[in-house]
Symmetry: C2
Subunit: 451 residues, 2 copies
C-alpha cells in the first residue's frame, strides 16, 4: 500500500516565536511580547490554517539564567498555549515540546490525550530529553543525566506513554442511555509497567483519543537521538537543511534505521525548520532579510550561541580572531547542535563574532521570489532531502503571511500541496497509519479496519 | 480598608460534570459524554459568564479502577480544558484542581502562570493532596503517603509554587524597541529552595502574571486541611452546606485560624458546592429533582461511596440492614468526607442503600422557586455561613441555565450580586488583595501602589 501512495509535501509553522532572528522583536512590524502573547500564537495558527498547513509547532525549554537570550526568559508553556489554540482553530495539528527528563509520564500522557480529545485529534508531542545542566536544579536534582542515559530514560518514558494511550480500546465507552451501560470494562487495560526508570500502573483516565494515539515527534540528531526516532517517532524535527548533502544523508539514515525496525519509509516523516523571506523581486526579498539581520547585536548573539554549550563562557575569546579548537564542550548538552557549530567554525576558520552571528540569524537559503522559493522547496522535497518544512518566520506575522499568500498557491498549482484538508485529524492529514491498540487481537483489528 | 468594604456574594459553577447525580448522564436532555466534551465545558463556562459568575471550577482525580464510578473513568485534564475555555471566554475565572502529591512544583507553577498570562489574569489552582491509594502506583510509588505527611508536602509545595510566581517583579520586562533593552535583570529573582521535600532553584521562565500570582484554592476539611487553607489559600472549596450549623462553625473556624496567621477575614473566601433545582412552582422543581434522582442505580451509588473509602469493599454488607460501625476505614483517604459519611450513617441508623444514595445524589436543600432559592442563598450569605456558592448543576446545561436566567436576576435586584464584572482579573472580581512580590521592598511596593 505504501508503495502506491504518492508522497505528499507537508507544511508547518512555529507558533511561538517573534522570529527566527533572536532580536527580531525590535522590528516595528512585530509585537515585542510574542512569546507570551496568546493572540500572537493564535494569529500564527490561523494563518497556518488558512494555508492548509499540517501543524503548528512549539519548541520549549524551562531552564533560564542571567545568561539566557532575553527572549527565552518568559514564554507560554506549550500545553496551555496549544489548548487555547485548539479552541480557536479547527484543522491545524498542535505539536508541543515536552521533556522526558523531569516530568511524570502519567501526567504527560494524560495532558496530551486530553489535548487530543478536546482538539478532535490534533495533538502531537515533541519528545526531547532536555539539554541544559540547570534544568535538573529546577526539579530536585543537582546534575543533568548524561546524554546517553537521558536517551535511555526517554525510550522507556515514550513506551510508558504509548502504553497508557492504549488503556482503552476504541469503542470501550458505550454510554447507552437506554440500557444504562456507560462502559465496557473488558475493553479497559492496565499497563502495570515496572521498568528501569518508571513504575506506572494505569489505566489512563482518558478514553482512547481520536488519533488512537497522539503523534510523537522527536528532536535530537545524535546517534542515540536518531535511533530513538527510528524506533518510536512518527516524525522528526530535524533542525536545518542548509547543508543539503548532509540533510540528505540524514534523511536516508533515518529511513534506513526505521526500515531496520520493520517500519515503512513513510511511517516516519522528517521536517527541518526553514526561514523563508519572500519578495516580489530578489532585491526586495534581500532587503527584507537584511532589515531584520541588522537588528542583531553581537552580545545577544553570543548569549544565544553559548546556550547550546550549556552556557559556556565565550567571553574569554577575542571577538574577531579565529576561534581555537573548542574541544568537547557541549558534548553533554545539545550534543549534535554543538558539534555542528564546532565543525562550521573549524571548517571556515571563523571568529567568535562570525560563529555567533551564524547561529543567531536564519540562513539566507530561502530568500527570493515566490517562484524561486517554490522551486527550492520542490527540489528538496522531490530529491528526498525532506518530507516537509516547519516555517520559522523571519518576522511574525509577516513572514508567515507572505508565505501563505504567495508561495502556497504555487505549491498547490504544482500539485505538490493540498488545497483542502484530507482529514479531521493530524494523523489523517500526515497520512500516518492508525495505531492498532496493543491489547486488541491482530485479527480483530484487521476485521475492524475492513468494516 | 477591609472594614468598610461591603461583603459581596460570589457565584461559581462546575464546568466538568454531567450533573451532581452520578447517573444524570442517562437523562435525555444531557450529553452523555460531558466529562470529555470540551463543547460541554465551554457551554457551561459561557452560561456562567452570562450570569457574571466569578469562576468555573474543575475537580479532578487521576486514579481509576474497575470499581470506579463509570463517569470518572474518562475525563478531560483540567489544565488543557481550562486553557481551551480561556480562549472562548473573557471574564470567567478558571479554577483547576491539581494534586501536590505526584507532580513537579516547577511544572505546576509554570502551567498555572501560563494559564494566567494567556487568560488575562483568570487562573486559579485548587491544591489537593490526592486521596486514593492507587494514585501512587501511577507515579512510581507503591503507597500513598499518609494523611498528615501529604499535608506537610502540600505546604512546602504551595510555598515553592508561590516563590516561583515571584521570580520576576511586575515591571521586569521592558521590551523597548528603541533602546534594545528587553528585560531588567535586576528584577529577576532566583528562589533557590532547598526544603524537606523539594529542591527547586528557579527562576520561573514566565514573567509575573496578571494577577501577580494565580489564586490558590484548597479543598480538604480535616484539621490539617483547615490549617493549610488558613495559612496559604485565597479560597476554599468546602463541600456541602447541608448541615447549616456545622457549615457556620467551619466558616468561623477558618476565619479564626486565618486571623491567627495575621490575615483579614475577607482574604480567604469559603465556597461550598450546592445543587439548585429551580421550578416555576415548588411542585415543578420537585418533579425535576425527582426525574434525575430516579436515574440512580444503587450499585453505581455504592461504587461512588466506596471511592471515598479508598475503594473499600462494601458488598460484604447487606443492602437494607443498618450498617455496622465502620471503624477507621477511610482515615487515610478522603479523611474528612469519610468521617462525615460515617457520622451520617451512625446518626440516622442508615443501611448501605441509604448511605450510598445519600452520597450519590445531591441534597434537596435548594429545590424550589426562584424566590425560595434566592431567599435561602441570601440567608446563608448574610448569616456568614458562606462567602459564595459553586453550583453543581443537577443536569448540564439546564440546571445552570435555569439558575442564570431565573435566580441571578433576583440576587442582582436585591443588590447582593454584581450586574457587571468589576475587574478584568479573577483576583479583582473576588476582591482579593494584589500580592506584593517578596523581593520588592515594602516601601517601593507602597510607592508603586500609590502611583
Ligand atoms: C533540531 C533540534 C531541535 C530541538 N528542539 C528542542 C526543544 O525544543 N527543546 C529542548 O529541550 N530540546 C530540544 N532539542 C534538544 C534535544 O532534544 C536533546 O535534548 C539534545 O539536543 C541532545 O540530543 P542530540 O545530541 O541527539 O541532538 C532539539 C534538538 C535538535 C537537534
Ligand atoms: C470538598 C472537598 C473537595 C475535594 N475535591 C478534591 C478533588 O477534586 N480532587 C482530589 O484529588 N481531592 C479532592 N479532595 C480531597 C482533599 O484534597 C484531600 O486530598 C483529602 O480529602 C484528605 O483531606 P481532608 O481529610 O483534609 O478532607 C476534596 C476534599 C473535600 C473535603
Amino acid at each position: 500500500m505504501s508503495q502506491t501512495k504518492k508522497r505528499q509535501l507537508r507544511l508547518a509553522a512555529f507558533l511561538s516565536g517573534i522570529g527566527a532572528n533572536v532580536q527580531a522583536w525590535r522590528h516595528p512590524d512585530t509585537a515585542s511580547n510574542s512569546p507570551v502573547s496568546i493572540e500572537a500564537f493564535i494569529e500564527a495558527a490561523r494563518l497556518a490554517e488558512k494555508g492548509k498547513f499540517d501543524f503548528g509547532f512549539i519548541a520549549d525549554s524551562t531552564f533560564i539564567t542571567r545568561d539566557s537570550t532575553p527572549y527565552f526568559l518568559s514564554r507560554l508553556e506549550p500545553i496551555t498555549a496549544l489548548s487555547a489554540v485548539a479552541a480557536t482553530t479547527t484543522h491545524l495539528g498542535l505539536v508541543g515540546t515536552m521533556t522526558t527528563s523531569f516530568s511524570e509520564p502519567f501526567t504527560t500522557a494524560r495532558q496530551l490525550a486530553s489535548l487530543d480529545k478536546l482538539s478532535g485529534g490534533r495533538a502531537a508531542w515533541n519528545a526531547v530529553t532536555g539539554a541544559l545542566e540547570g534544568h535538573a536544579r529546577n526539579h530536585g536534582g543537582e546534575k543533568l543525566y548524561e546524554h546517553s542515559l537521558r536517551y535511555r530514560i526517554a525510550d522507556e518514558y515514550i513506551q510508558v506513554v504509548k502504553g497508557l494511550w492504549d488503556s482503552w480500546e476504541d469503542d470501550a465507552f458505550v454510554r447507552n442511555k437506554q440500557t444504562g451501560q456507560y462502559v465496557d470494562l473488558d475493553k479497559m487495560h492496565t499497563l502495570n509497567h515496572k521498568g528501569e526508570f518508571f513504575g506506572v500502573q494505569g489505566p489512563l483516565n482518558m478514553e482512547r483519543s481520536p488519533q488512537g494515539r497522539p503523534i510523537v515527534f522527536q528532536a535530537g540528531a545524535s546517534e542515540e537521538g536518531r535511533d530513538l526516532a527510528a524506533r518510536e517517532a512518527d516524525a522528526i524535527f530535524s533542525g536545518s537543511v542548509e547543508d543539503v548533502p548532509a540533510a540528505k544523508a540524514y534523511y536516508q539514515d533515518i529511513k534506513r534505521r526505521a526500515a531496520a525496525y520493520g517500519r515503512a519509509a513513510d511511517e516516519i516523516l522528517i521536517f527541518p525548520s526553514i526561514t523563508v523571506v519572500v519578495g516580489d523581486t530578489e532585491q526586495e526579498a534581500r532587503r527584507k532579510y537584511d532589515e531584520v539581520s541588522q537588528l542583531l547585536d553581537v552580545n545577544v548573539a553570543i548569549k544565544y550561541l553559548s546556550r547550546y554549550f550549556s552556557f559556556f563562557d565565550f567571553s574569554q575569546f577575542p571577538l574577531d580572531e579565529p576561534l581555537p579548537d573548542l574541544g568537547d564542550i557541549g558534548k553533554d548538552s545539545f550534543k549534535s547542535t554543538a558539534e555542528h557549530y564546532k565543525r562550521k567554525a573549524r571548517e571556515n576558520n571563523w571568529s567568535l563574532r562570525q560563529l555567533a552571528l551564524y547561529a543567531s540569524n536564519p540562513s539566507d537559503q530561502f530568500v527570493g521570489t515566490p517562484v524561486q522559493i517554490a522551486d527550492r522547496l520542490q527540489q528538496l522535497f522531490e530529491d528526498e532531502v525532506v518530507d516537509g518544512f516547519i516555517l520559522h518566520a523571519y518576522l511574525q506575522p509577516r513572514g508567515l503571511e507572505d508565505f501563505v499568500d504567495k508561495v502556497v498557491p504555487l505549491l498547490q498549482q504544482r500539485g505538490l500541496f493540498r488545497t483542502e484538508y484530507e482529514a479531521a485529524t493530524l494523523r489523517g492529514n500526515l497520512g500516518l497509519p492508525y495505531p492498532v491498540n496493543r491489547y486488541v487481537q491482530q485479527q480483530d483489528a484487521t476485521k475492524a479496519l475492513a468494516a
